[in-house]
Symmetry: C2
Subunit: 230 residues, 2 copies
Amino acid sequence: MPRATTRQRPITNPLALAVLALLFERPMHPYEMASLLRERQKDASIKLNYGSLYTVVDQLQRAGYIVPQETNRDGRRPERTTYAITDAGLARMREWMRDLIRKPAKEYPQFEAALSLMGVLPPDEASDLLAERITRLEAHLTGMRDVMEDAAAAGIPRLFMIESEYELAMTEAELAWVRALHEEITTGSLPNLDLWHAFHEEGARYAYDPRTGLTDVRQIKPATADKEAP
Amino acid sequence: MPRATTRQRPITNPLALAVLALLFERPMHPYEMASLLRERQKDASIKLNYGSLYTVVDQLQRAGYIVPQETNRDGRRPERTTYAITDAGLARMREWMRDLIRKPAKEYPQFEAALSLMGVLPPDEASDLLAERITRLEAHLTGMRDVMEDAAAAGIPRLFMIESEYELAMTEAELAWVRALHEEITTGSLPNLDLWHAFHEEGARYAYDPRTGLTDVRQIKPATADKEAP
DNA sequence: GGTCGTATATCCTGCACCGAATATACGGAT
DNA sequence: ATCCGTATATTCGGTGCAGGATATACGACC
């Protein structure tokens, strides 16, 4: 039998989870949600922008997870709609949270993508770039530590900043790993460095086939665009 | 003066970078790109699906980074278009790679989002969920190590799997951190655990204001949806 | 008392993305 | 001989998302 409406995809934007969590505290209107998220620095862990916020609020409402409570108008300012969480929303929030904590999610960090294609850069350049990354990671770590010390000094419990401790730990781990890789390239202890160099000799192209284990180094000139795109 | 065309946003999908990297090796058609990425397991680091692949190929072409070379038809199979990289594409690829390696990018891991909202779950439940995550992370690590050993045994140089070493290191770091947090919750050494418990006593809601440092525990019943969504 | 920047509050629009559909070829099983 | 699962190859439709436009209020400054 045919479905009456096109089945709505489950909401995946973590900002929606933040909305549910905020409405779990008390009813509020979208702009206030954004202000609170900024004030508590949750926007460092959850990407926030107004366009997405109003979109997910709408989605949550259509799904029955939240309901508009009242619509106020203050003078001639735009109307603002206050929302409250429903029982279904409460259940969804808990389920979602449980899932996120229990199951490590497959994600695609940009740096990992770059690493997987690093062969397209000559090894000496890669090495220099990694060195620069090291400097930036160090600076970032210093910044994070300062912020956390300030927060601690202001008496904010660790419980409310646990996500920054996580970010700190992950950044430290990345720094250590990048340092080790950089070291291996500069000292030449990384296996097959000679191969990598060969790929980037004057005009060289490479094609490595992991099935056969064969590496094919060719001389091909890049194509030239002879027409402008229309 | 008005722009003739709406300025095209720069391409951000890392899959486009992978396309450039593949065409840097040799010209090929989109389906072949996908096959190669799968064969080399780059799809573990770069999200690949056909819809996006054909989209980014089109975008790259419009931007002048790649050009269609020839269109073959094999029997009655769908036509396939072979693309080649242009000089502009080569330059763009290098610049993009440089950026990704040099500059740590702000990303938003789902787990960090969940951590930042962890207060909405009662501490005992959070503890159990973290324990489950630990188990899953361990299993995932074992799996990754197996895959890497197989690859090493098959004679694939580390250079071509550097991204898995990164993923391994990051996962190990996360495991260590989660273990430590779990320990702190179960032993009670995490400060303000009592506060966290109090938030979740029968019917409680919490509102913590980091500006004033005040925590407000209220008794509010959740709203009930009295209407079905239309 | 005008004006300029910032805060309050939401909406609109265009693109990117992804799931799923389409169509044919081919090799092995029954 | 034919059936059917998998490989080859691309297209399309619908949605989520983000950038920026819109509109008013308010305080500071000259």
